[in-house]
């Protein structure tokens, strides 16, 4: 029981991170109908930026943890959004209105390019940082097992909840949110009504990248190590989460992320840890077979 509770906490933490990345996939899919394959690598870039920022702070002898976290978050969000913007501008915008396959292949190329440029410029070795947040609250002292919620886990869950509320407010209440939803429904009509479609799409990519940047900082704080390959698996899992929740649906992405995180940690705890990635892929196949529109998505109707 205690063990299961601990897995629940771990799963929620993991799921919150997947959810943050999944929103990037789902928003981009909603607005231009393509899978942004490079999104996982944008997340990876943000983790590297976070490592560099933490190291700079350590060298500057900054000891205040809230200050350090705020600084790292701002730096990481700024640069990662720039990456999100640049990827869209160079690899996807010229291909708008092309065949379905073309932007997808260009996205895969972009993903390979980002991965290898990070490997070349930052090195292929794993980057460890000293633990930022240690310890936590002991929830339950069961005989032989202690259930603990770490400060970093709490940070992740709280940040995700705050971000999600802010984000939902932004999409439903602000002018940008209205434009974004308008473009999602009908790009031509939105353009006719005076919405700058190109700019809205750019902002969407930047927003997705910013959320991925938060996830990147959280991963760095939580695990303390990053390498250039983390984007691949995290990207696929977040995509699975987006599909599970119903691609194009924002609450769905978060729900899917939580479910994937929970399934993964329970699978690893009770079944075979080495096959936990297989479990994620298996879920992806099952969802696509049984309910392609996902849990909260609308069925897609393609018109000629």
């Amino acid at each position: 029981m205690a063990y299961a509770l601990q897995q629940l906490i771990n799963g929620l933490t993991l799921g919150a991170m997947y959810g943050l990345i999944a929103i990037g996939y789902t928003m981009v899919y909603g607005i231009i109908g393509m899978i942004n394959f490079a999104h996982g690598d944008i997340f990876m870039v943000s983790a590297f930026i976070a490592v560099t920022a933490f190291t700079i702070l350590a060298a500057a002898d900054v000891t205040s943890i809230p200050l350090a976290l705020t600084f790292v978050l701002i730096v990481s969000i700024f640069f990662t959004s720039a990456y999100g913007w640049a990827v869209e501008r160079t690899a996807y915008r010229p291909l708008r209105g092309s065949t379905r396959l073309a932007p997808l292949i260009s996205a895969i190329g972009m993903s390979i390019f980002l991965q290898n440029s990070v490997q070349l410029t930052q090195g292929a070795r794993v980057k460890p940082i000293p633990p930022v947040l240690e310890g936590g609250i002991v929830l339950w002292e069961a005989p032989g097992f202690t259930v603990q919620i770490g400060w970093s886990q709490m940070l992740i869950i709280v940040t995700t909840v705050i971000l999600m509320s802010a984000f939902t407010w932004m999409i439903t209440q602000t002018p940008f949110g209205r434009q974004q939803r308008a473009c999602e429904q009908d790009r031509t009509m939105a353009a006719l009504l005076g919405v700058n479609v190109d700019r809205t799409i750019s902002y969407t990519f930047m927003l997705g990248a910013a959320l991925a940047a938060v996830a990147g900082v959280m991963v760095t704080v939580y695990y303390g190590v990053v390498d250039f390959f983390i984007g691949f698996l995290a990207g696929i899992k977040a995509f699975t989460a987006a599909v599970l929740g119903g691609i194009g649906s924002l609450p769905g992405a978060m729900l899917g992320g939580l479910l994937i995180g929970l399934i993964e940690s329970f699978w690893a705890a009770y079944l075979w840890a080495e096959y936990k990635d297989v479990a994620t892929f298996g879920i992806l196949c099952l969802v696509l077979m049984l309910r392609p529109s996902g849990l909260l998505g609308r069925p897609e109707v393609e018109k000629v």
Binding site: T52, T55, L101, A102, S106, F113, L114, L120, E274
Partner: protein, 443 residues
């Protein structure tokens, strides 16, 4: 300005500079965290190292590159406009002319590939590299059926390659099957894996398919790594028997009751015999693949693949069973990948899950995309380039994947059809009013 300017939006030098400056500024922002700063291991802890010199050089390169690129694009556009005005040749005629060049090139390449081991009969390195090129050509042709013809993006093609390789390895080491017995069985096994995976998924949209195939490729690799009793895990399977030439082995001494190749033909034993035999074997397999695929293209099923690639909804409206058509492309592609895998296992004599990573899938996809989706000659060209470039400069090897990625993006942006691809309508109206099928000619 009295000179005639053909470009509609001729840029002034100031505009060019501003444009390049803006791009360089973006480059600077992107470069700061990755190029300008890096973390290095200093006595067990990370320390920050700055590389602002490199960053400045990179930004300057971006600035100059943008200026040059902009200028080159304008020049190319002007020249194209001029040419279009001057010549009355239609795009179809030009494509036809280009196609003739490609056809001649194809025959030259065939001749060269047959002559290669005779010319380099004592150069192990050349024959080995050429064999590798041919493996990739065959894989490219197999994937071309799926991606180029049917328009289904398969990111886990290496899974079928792995199925082929492991089925031969297990059948031969565990049950003593020979290469020729295992070849069709392994191909059929790969094809059935393709059907098994494809059946539930192919009803879905193309981009879902991409992710699911990617996941499938990873599943196969994870299983091969972890299921030690079956596949011997990360250690792989070694001492896989080599193929024989109609029962004649390529060994120094004959096995019991058998004969060696060298002994039968009265030649002096040389390890090169086997290499050359393997080379011709893969050449024959690749050519068979080519003939098979070219035939299929002219059959109704091949036509259906290309129709499906162009417009799925129209195909459904015409009463075509899209799932079965996709499934046939998927299965045939998987089978060809399986054949290539069998050959790979037989040639290496050792396989491990290391050889079947996503990178490998990406390389094969890059070959198909760079060559021009659907173009058989393009695949040969791209496979040769991608295998030879890292061979020529070993220092270059670490930039290989970087350049692959960059090339995939650039080629998609520049020519979404690939280097050697023409998407002509199958039937078009001539000036005289007669219809002519140009598809065969255009390939």
């Amino acid at each position: 300005m009295s000179a005639v300017v053909f470009a509609r939006h001729a840029m002034t030098p100031a505009e060019r500079l501003r444009d390049a400056g803006w791009v360089a500024f973006v480059g600077l922002i992107l470069g700061i965290p990755l190029v300008g700063l890096t973390t290095v291991d200093v006595g067990g802890r990370l320390g920050v190292e700055t590389r602002f010199g490199l960053l400045a050089a990179a930004v300057a390169a971006v600035f100059a590159g943008r200026l040059l690129l902009r200028w080159a694009i304008d020049q190319a556009r002007n020249r194209k406009q001029e040419r279009d005005r001057a010549s009355t040749a239609t795009a179809a005629d030009r494509a036809h002319g280009a196609q003739r060049v490609v056809n001649v090139l194809g025959w030259v390449a065939l001749g060269a590939s047959i002559a290669l081991p005779i010319v380099f009969s004592d150069n192990r390195y050349v024959v080995d590299t050429a064999t590798t090129v041919l493996i990739y050509v065959m894989l490219g042709w197999g994937l071309n059926v799926v991606v180029g013809l049917a328009g289904l993006l398969d990111l886990g093609y290496v899974a079928f390659y792995a199925v082929g390789a492991y089925s031969y390895a297990l059948l031969s080491t565990q049950f003593g099957w020979s290469f020729w017995e295992a070849l069709p069985v392994s191909g059929a096994l790969a094809a059935s894996f393709g059907i098994l995976l494809g059946y539930p998924i192919l009803r879905l949209r193309g981009d879902y398919l991409a992710i699911v195939t990617l996941g499938f490729g990873e599943i196969i690799r994870i299983i091969l790594v972890n299921w030690t009793e079956f596949s011997n895990g990360p250690n792989g399977i070694s001492s896989i028997p080599r193929p024989s030439f109609f029962g004649l082995d390529f060994t120094r001494s004959a096995p019991e009751g058998g004969q060696t190749f060298a002994g039968f033909f009265g030649l002096e034993f040389s390890p090169m015999h086997r290499l050359i035999f393997l080379y011709y074997l893969i050449l024959v397999l690749a050519l068979l693949t080519h003939a098979f695929v070219s035939r299929l293209r002219k059959l109704p099923v091949g036509r259906a693949w290309e129709a499906l690639r162009e417009d799925e909804i129209a195909c459904q409206a015409m009463g075509m069973n899209t799932t079965n058509i996709k499934l046939s492309a998927f299965a045939i592609g998987a089978m060809l990948g399986g054949f290539a895998g069998v050959f790979f296992a037989a040639r290496q004599g050792f396989i491990s899950p290391e050889s079947f990573t996503f990178t490998e899938s990406a390389i094969i996809l890059a070959i198909v995309v760079l060559g021009g989706m659907g173009s058989q000659m393009g695949v040969v060209l791209a496979a040769t380039l991608l295998v030879l470039i890292p061979e020529f400069g070993r220092n270059f090897a670490e930039y290989r994947m970087l350049l692959f990625g960059l090339a995939m993006v650039l080629i998609m942006v520049w020519r979404p059809g690939g280097l050697l691809s023409h998407r002509e309508p199958t039937v078009h109206l001539n000036a005289s009013g007669k219809t002519a099928a140009t598809k065969e000619a255009a390939r």
